[in-house]
Protein backbone atom coordinates (compact mmCIF):
# COMPACT_ATOMS: atom_id res chain seq x y z
CA UNK A 1 0.00 0.00 0.00
CA UNK A 2 1.26 3.45 -0.83
CA UNK A 3 0.34 6.67 0.88
CA UNK A 4 0.63 9.60 -1.47
CA UNK A 5 -0.28 12.54 0.66
CA UNK A 6 -2.01 13.75 3.76
CA UNK A 7 -3.84 16.97 4.64
CA UNK A 8 -5.49 18.55 7.67
CA UNK A 9 -8.02 21.36 7.32
CA UNK A 10 -9.24 23.27 10.35
CA UNK A 11 -12.74 24.59 10.95
CA UNK A 12 -11.95 27.80 9.11
CA UNK A 13 -11.24 25.83 5.95
CA UNK A 14 -7.58 26.61 6.37
CA UNK A 15 -5.12 23.92 5.36
CA UNK A 16 -3.07 23.63 8.53
CA UNK A 17 -0.94 20.69 7.53
CA UNK A 18 0.06 19.00 4.34
CA UNK A 19 2.50 16.28 3.66
CA UNK A 20 3.40 14.46 0.51
CA UNK A 21 5.19 11.22 0.14
CA UNK A 22 6.37 10.87 -3.40
CA UNK A 23 4.95 7.85 -5.04
CA UNK A 24 6.94 4.75 -5.71
CA UNK A 25 9.10 4.85 -8.81
CA UNK A 26 6.64 2.74 -10.76
CA UNK A 27 4.16 5.56 -10.91
CA UNK A 28 6.41 8.45 -11.58
CA UNK A 29 8.54 9.32 -14.51
CA UNK A 30 12.16 9.58 -13.65
CA UNK A 31 13.45 8.22 -10.40
CA UNK A 32 12.92 10.81 -7.79
CA UNK A 33 14.38 9.87 -4.53
CA UNK A 34 11.73 9.02 -2.02
CA UNK A 35 12.85 11.85 0.13
CA UNK A 36 9.68 13.21 1.56
CA UNK A 37 8.97 16.89 1.51
CA UNK A 38 6.37 18.59 3.51
CA UNK A 39 7.18 22.11 2.50
CA UNK A 40 4.46 23.95 0.78
CA UNK A 41 6.95 26.34 -0.68
CA UNK A 42 8.87 23.67 -2.51
CA UNK A 43 7.67 23.78 -6.06
CA UNK A 44 5.92 20.57 -6.82
CA UNK A 45 8.25 18.20 -8.44
CA UNK A 46 5.33 16.24 -9.65
CA UNK A 47 2.47 16.10 -7.27
CA UNK A 48 1.44 12.55 -6.81
CA UNK A 49 1.62 11.46 -10.36
CA UNK A 50 -1.79 10.03 -9.90
CA UNK A 51 -3.15 13.51 -10.08
CA UNK A 52 -1.88 13.80 -13.57
CA UNK A 53 -0.53 17.24 -14.18
CA UNK A 54 2.82 18.24 -12.92
CA UNK A 55 2.83 21.99 -12.76
CA UNK A 56 0.61 22.50 -9.78
CA UNK A 57 1.91 23.43 -6.39
CA UNK A 58 0.92 21.64 -3.25
CA UNK A 59 -1.00 24.74 -2.33
CA UNK A 60 -3.24 24.28 -5.28
CA UNK A 61 -3.61 20.62 -4.44
CA UNK A 62 -4.76 21.47 -0.98
CA UNK A 63 -7.36 23.89 -2.25
CA UNK A 64 -8.58 21.41 -4.80
CA UNK A 65 -8.86 18.70 -2.24
CA UNK A 66 -10.65 20.92 0.18
CA UNK A 67 -13.13 21.92 -2.46
CA UNK A 68 -13.71 18.31 -3.33
CA UNK A 69 -14.26 16.96 0.16
CA UNK A 70 -16.28 19.99 1.17
CA UNK A 71 -18.68 19.53 -1.71
CA UNK A 72 -18.84 15.78 -1.35
CA UNK A 73 -19.55 16.07 2.33
CA UNK A 74 -22.31 18.59 1.83
CA UNK A 75 -23.78 16.43 -0.86
CA UNK A 76 -23.62 13.38 1.38
CA UNK A 77 -25.42 15.31 4.08
CA UNK A 78 -28.11 16.53 1.73
CA UNK A 79 -28.84 13.02 0.59
CA UNK A 80 -28.27 11.05 3.76
CA UNK A 81 -29.14 13.43 6.54
CA UNK A 82 -27.17 15.68 8.86
CA UNK A 83 -25.15 12.88 10.37
CA UNK A 84 -24.12 11.33 7.11
CA UNK A 85 -20.69 11.75 5.71
CA UNK A 86 -18.60 10.24 3.04
CA UNK A 87 -15.75 8.01 3.94
CA UNK A 88 -13.75 7.47 0.81
CA UNK A 89 -13.85 7.64 -2.95
CA UNK A 90 -11.61 6.21 -5.58
CA UNK A 91 -10.67 7.01 -9.08
CA UNK A 92 -8.71 4.94 -11.49
CA UNK A 93 -5.53 6.38 -10.06
CA UNK A 94 -5.95 6.95 -6.38
CA UNK A 95 -8.19 6.56 -3.41
CA UNK A 96 -9.12 9.45 -1.11
CA UNK A 97 -9.91 8.78 2.54
CA UNK A 98 -11.78 11.27 4.64
CA UNK A 99 -12.36 11.71 8.35
CA UNK A 100 -14.02 14.67 9.96
CA UNK A 101 -14.19 15.38 13.67
CA UNK A 102 -17.16 17.08 15.33
CA UNK A 103 -14.98 20.18 15.56
CA UNK A 104 -14.97 20.29 11.77
CA UNK A 105 -11.33 19.41 11.53
CA UNK A 106 -10.91 17.42 8.35
CA UNK A 107 -8.31 14.73 7.79
CA UNK A 108 -7.66 13.64 4.23
CA UNK A 109 -5.34 10.97 2.95
CA UNK A 110 -4.59 9.94 -0.58
CA UNK A 111 -3.41 6.40 -1.20
CA UNK A 112 -3.16 3.97 -4.04
CA UNK A 113 -6.31 2.20 -5.10
CA UNK A 114 -5.47 -1.12 -3.51
CA UNK A 115 -5.42 0.25 -0.02
CA UNK A 116 -8.06 -0.80 2.49
CA UNK A 117 -10.19 1.75 4.28
CA UNK A 118 -8.06 4.23 6.16
CA UNK A 119 -10.85 5.69 8.24
CA UNK A 120 -9.56 4.09 11.43
CA UNK A 121 -6.02 5.15 10.62
CA UNK A 122 -7.13 8.74 10.17
CA UNK A 123 -9.00 8.58 13.43
CA UNK A 124 -5.87 7.25 15.10
CA UNK A 125 -3.89 10.11 13.68
CA UNK A 126 -6.43 12.52 15.11
CA UNK A 127 -6.60 10.91 18.54
CA UNK A 128 -3.05 9.81 19.10
CA UNK A 129 -1.06 12.35 17.16
CA UNK A 130 -3.03 15.51 16.47
CA UNK A 131 -4.73 15.83 19.86
CA UNK A 132 -1.74 14.61 21.83
CA UNK A 133 0.98 16.63 20.17
CA UNK A 134 -0.71 19.60 18.56
CA UNK A 135 -3.81 20.39 20.59
CA UNK A 136 -2.29 19.63 23.95
CA UNK A 137 0.82 21.63 23.28
CA UNK A 138 0.07 24.85 25.12
CA UNK A 139 2.47 26.77 22.94
CA UNK A 140 0.90 25.84 19.65
CA UNK A 141 -1.89 28.15 18.60
CA UNK A 142 -5.45 26.90 18.54
CA UNK A 143 -6.26 28.87 15.46
CA UNK A 144 -4.05 29.26 12.43
CA UNK A 145 -5.21 32.29 10.52
CA UNK A 146 -2.97 32.16 7.50
CA UNK A 147 -0.12 31.25 9.77
CA UNK A 148 2.35 28.47 9.96
CA UNK A 149 -0.24 25.83 10.69
CA UNK A 150 0.86 22.74 12.49
CA UNK A 151 4.51 23.35 12.97
CA UNK A 152 5.36 20.64 15.40
CA UNK A 153 8.26 18.27 15.15
CA UNK A 154 6.80 15.66 17.44
CA UNK A 155 3.69 15.49 15.34
CA UNK A 156 5.54 15.34 12.07
CA UNK A 157 7.94 12.69 13.22
CA UNK A 158 5.21 10.56 14.68
CA UNK A 159 3.15 10.92 11.55
CA UNK A 160 6.13 9.91 9.47
CA UNK A 161 6.61 6.83 11.60
CA UNK A 162 2.97 5.99 11.59
CA UNK A 163 2.74 6.18 7.83
CA UNK A 164 5.96 4.39 7.04
CA UNK A 165 5.84 1.68 9.70
CA UNK A 166 2.22 1.07 10.46
CA UNK A 167 0.56 1.70 7.18
CA UNK A 168 2.94 0.20 4.70
Amino acid sequence: MVVYSFYIFDRHAECIYKRRWLPRPSSIVGSKSSRPTSEASAPATGPPAVLGQSARTTDDDAKLIFGTVFSLRNMARKLGGEDDNFVTYRTNQYRLHYYETPTNTKFVMLTDIKSPSMRVALQQIYINLYVEYVVKNPLSPTEHPGGVGVNNELFEESLEQFVTRVLS
Binding site: G67, N74, I127
Partner: protein, 192 residues
Protein backbone atom coordinates in the same frame (compact mmCIF):
# COMPACT_ATOMS: atom_id res chain seq x y z
CA UNK B 1 -32.78 5.12 27.43
CA UNK B 2 -32.76 8.85 28.03
CA UNK B 3 -29.81 10.83 26.81
CA UNK B 4 -28.98 11.70 30.41
CA UNK B 5 -28.57 8.10 31.54
CA UNK B 6 -26.69 7.27 28.40
CA UNK B 7 -24.37 10.20 28.99
CA UNK B 8 -23.90 9.16 32.62
CA UNK B 9 -22.82 5.73 31.51
CA UNK B 10 -20.38 7.07 28.97
CA UNK B 11 -18.94 9.45 31.53
CA UNK B 12 -18.57 6.72 34.11
CA UNK B 13 -16.89 4.42 31.64
CA UNK B 14 -14.44 7.04 30.41
CA UNK B 15 -13.61 8.16 33.92
CA UNK B 16 -12.67 4.62 34.80
CA UNK B 17 -10.70 3.73 31.72
CA UNK B 18 -9.41 6.70 29.79
CA UNK B 19 -8.68 9.45 32.24
CA UNK B 20 -5.38 10.21 33.89
CA UNK B 21 -5.99 11.36 37.44
CA UNK B 22 -4.14 14.09 39.26
CA UNK B 23 -4.23 15.13 42.85
CA UNK B 24 -7.30 17.27 43.50
CA UNK B 25 -5.56 19.61 45.90
CA UNK B 26 -2.98 20.38 43.25
CA UNK B 27 -5.72 21.49 40.89
CA UNK B 28 -7.57 23.39 43.58
CA UNK B 29 -4.51 25.22 44.81
CA UNK B 30 -3.26 25.97 41.32
CA UNK B 31 -6.56 27.43 40.27
CA UNK B 32 -6.97 29.29 43.54
CA UNK B 33 -3.55 30.82 43.19
CA UNK B 34 -4.32 31.98 39.68
CA UNK B 35 -7.53 33.67 40.77
CA UNK B 36 -5.91 35.24 43.82
CA UNK B 37 -3.06 36.52 41.69
CA UNK B 38 -5.47 37.96 39.14
CA UNK B 39 -7.36 39.73 41.92
CA UNK B 40 -4.10 41.24 43.02
CA UNK B 41 -2.95 42.12 39.51
CA UNK B 42 -6.24 43.79 38.68
CA UNK B 43 -6.18 45.59 41.98
CA UNK B 44 -9.43 44.13 43.16
CA UNK B 45 -11.32 45.02 40.00
CA UNK B 46 -13.40 41.88 40.07
CA UNK B 47 -15.24 42.58 36.83
CA UNK B 48 -11.92 42.43 35.05
CA UNK B 49 -10.94 39.30 36.92
CA UNK B 50 -14.18 37.61 35.85
CA UNK B 51 -13.53 38.64 32.28
CA UNK B 52 -9.98 37.39 32.34
CA UNK B 53 -10.97 34.05 33.83
CA UNK B 54 -13.59 33.66 31.14
CA UNK B 55 -11.01 34.37 28.47
CA UNK B 56 -8.59 31.83 29.93
CA UNK B 57 -11.37 29.29 30.04
CA UNK B 58 -12.24 30.00 26.43
CA UNK B 59 -8.72 29.12 25.35
CA UNK B 60 -8.77 25.99 27.47
CA UNK B 61 -12.16 24.95 26.12
CA UNK B 62 -11.02 25.13 22.53
CA UNK B 63 -8.36 22.55 23.28
CA UNK B 64 -10.25 20.54 25.81
CA UNK B 65 -13.03 19.75 23.37
CA UNK B 66 -10.55 17.96 21.10
CA UNK B 67 -9.34 15.87 24.00
CA UNK B 68 -12.92 15.23 24.95
CA UNK B 69 -13.79 14.04 21.46
CA UNK B 70 -10.66 11.97 21.16
CA UNK B 71 -11.36 10.23 24.44
CA UNK B 72 -15.08 9.82 24.19
CA UNK B 73 -15.39 9.23 20.49
CA UNK B 74 -18.95 10.51 20.61
CA UNK B 75 -20.52 12.04 17.58
CA UNK B 76 -22.46 15.21 17.10
CA UNK B 77 -25.37 15.76 19.46
CA UNK B 78 -28.83 15.67 17.95
CA UNK B 79 -30.07 18.69 19.90
CA UNK B 80 -29.14 21.13 22.60
CA UNK B 81 -30.70 19.02 25.33
CA UNK B 82 -28.40 16.19 24.43
CA UNK B 83 -25.49 18.63 24.40
CA UNK B 84 -26.37 19.68 27.93
CA UNK B 85 -26.34 16.09 29.14
CA UNK B 86 -23.03 15.49 27.41
CA UNK B 87 -21.51 18.51 29.11
CA UNK B 88 -22.82 17.65 32.54
CA UNK B 89 -22.49 13.90 32.61
CA UNK B 90 -19.47 13.30 30.38
CA UNK B 91 -17.49 16.52 30.15
CA UNK B 92 -17.56 17.56 33.78
CA UNK B 93 -17.26 13.95 34.82
CA UNK B 94 -14.04 13.22 33.01
CA UNK B 95 -12.36 16.55 33.63
CA UNK B 96 -13.46 17.37 37.18
CA UNK B 97 -15.15 14.17 38.34
CA UNK B 98 -18.38 15.93 39.08
CA UNK B 99 -21.74 15.72 37.37
CA UNK B 100 -23.75 18.93 37.76
CA UNK B 101 -27.51 18.70 37.47
CA UNK B 102 -29.08 19.95 34.25
CA UNK B 103 -32.24 21.83 35.05
CA UNK B 104 -34.44 24.88 34.49
CA UNK B 105 -34.88 24.49 30.75
CA UNK B 106 -36.70 27.24 28.96
CA UNK B 107 -39.60 26.10 26.81
CA UNK B 108 -37.68 26.70 23.59
CA UNK B 109 -34.94 24.33 24.80
CA UNK B 110 -32.27 26.95 24.28
CA UNK B 111 -31.38 27.73 27.87
CA UNK B 112 -30.59 25.58 30.85
CA UNK B 113 -28.89 25.74 34.21
CA UNK B 114 -26.10 23.61 35.55
CA UNK B 115 -26.37 23.23 39.30
CA UNK B 116 -23.15 22.19 40.99
CA UNK B 117 -23.44 20.15 44.17
CA UNK B 118 -19.70 20.21 44.50
CA UNK B 119 -16.99 22.25 42.89
CA UNK B 120 -13.43 21.04 43.20
CA UNK B 121 -12.12 24.41 42.04
CA UNK B 122 -13.57 26.11 45.09
CA UNK B 123 -12.57 23.74 47.87
CA UNK B 124 -11.04 25.59 50.83
CA UNK B 125 -11.89 28.90 49.24
CA UNK B 126 -13.23 31.80 51.22
CA UNK B 127 -13.69 34.97 49.24
CA UNK B 128 -11.77 38.05 50.33
CA UNK B 129 -13.48 39.90 53.11
CA UNK B 130 -13.47 43.31 51.44
CA UNK B 131 -17.19 43.76 51.09
CA UNK B 132 -17.08 43.60 47.29
CA UNK B 133 -15.75 40.17 46.36
CA UNK B 134 -18.90 38.60 47.73
CA UNK B 135 -20.97 40.59 45.27
CA UNK B 136 -18.68 40.90 42.29
CA UNK B 137 -16.26 38.01 41.94
CA UNK B 138 -17.39 34.82 40.24
CA UNK B 139 -14.63 32.60 41.52
CA UNK B 140 -15.20 29.71 39.11
CA UNK B 141 -15.85 31.89 36.08
CA UNK B 142 -13.24 29.98 34.11
CA UNK B 143 -15.83 27.25 33.65
CA UNK B 144 -18.08 29.61 31.67
CA UNK B 145 -15.22 30.25 29.30
CA UNK B 146 -14.42 26.58 28.96
CA UNK B 147 -17.97 25.85 27.86
CA UNK B 148 -18.00 28.74 25.43
CA UNK B 149 -14.70 27.71 23.86
CA UNK B 150 -15.57 24.05 23.68
CA UNK B 151 -19.01 24.55 22.19
CA UNK B 152 -17.79 27.08 19.70
CA UNK B 153 -15.52 24.39 18.31
CA UNK B 154 -18.53 22.17 17.72
CA UNK B 155 -20.46 24.92 15.95
CA UNK B 156 -22.48 26.29 18.82
CA UNK B 157 -22.26 29.86 19.96
CA UNK B 158 -23.35 30.03 23.54
CA UNK B 159 -23.37 32.45 26.41
CA UNK B 160 -22.67 31.21 29.92
CA UNK B 161 -22.60 32.95 33.26
CA UNK B 162 -22.96 32.13 36.92
CA UNK B 163 -26.11 33.25 38.65
CA UNK B 164 -25.25 32.03 42.13
CA UNK B 165 -22.33 30.59 44.03
CA UNK B 166 -22.14 29.00 47.46
CA UNK B 167 -18.93 30.93 48.01
CA UNK B 168 -21.03 34.07 48.06
CA UNK B 169 -23.35 32.56 50.61
CA UNK B 170 -25.95 31.42 48.09
CA UNK B 171 -27.66 28.08 48.61
CA UNK B 172 -26.49 26.65 45.31
CA UNK B 173 -23.87 27.16 42.65
CA UNK B 174 -25.66 27.64 39.39
CA UNK B 175 -24.51 28.45 35.88
CA UNK B 176 -26.88 29.61 33.17
CA UNK B 177 -26.09 28.48 29.64
CA UNK B 178 -27.89 29.89 26.60
CA UNK B 179 -27.58 28.83 23.01
CA UNK B 180 -27.13 31.87 20.80
CA UNK B 181 -26.96 30.19 17.44
CA UNK B 182 -25.49 27.31 15.51
CA UNK B 183 -22.43 28.37 13.58
CA UNK B 184 -22.49 27.75 9.86
CA UNK B 185 -19.63 25.99 8.11
CA UNK B 186 -16.99 28.37 7.00
CA UNK B 187 -16.07 28.54 3.37
CA UNK B 188 -12.53 29.00 2.17
CA UNK B 189 -11.79 32.62 1.34
CA UNK B 190 -12.41 33.45 -2.29
CA UNK B 191 -9.42 33.63 -4.53
CA UNK B 192 -8.89 37.05 -6.01
Amino acid sequence: MSSATKASRIGEELWKTRVDKVNAELVTLTYGTIVAQLCQDYDGNYQDVNKQLEKMGYNIGMRLIEDFLAKSNVGRCANFRETADMIAKVGFRIFLNIAPTVTNWTSDNNQFSLVFDENPLADFVELPDDGRAQDELWFSNILCGVLRGALEMVQMQIEAHFVSDVLRGDDTTEMRVSLVRYIEDEMPPDEE
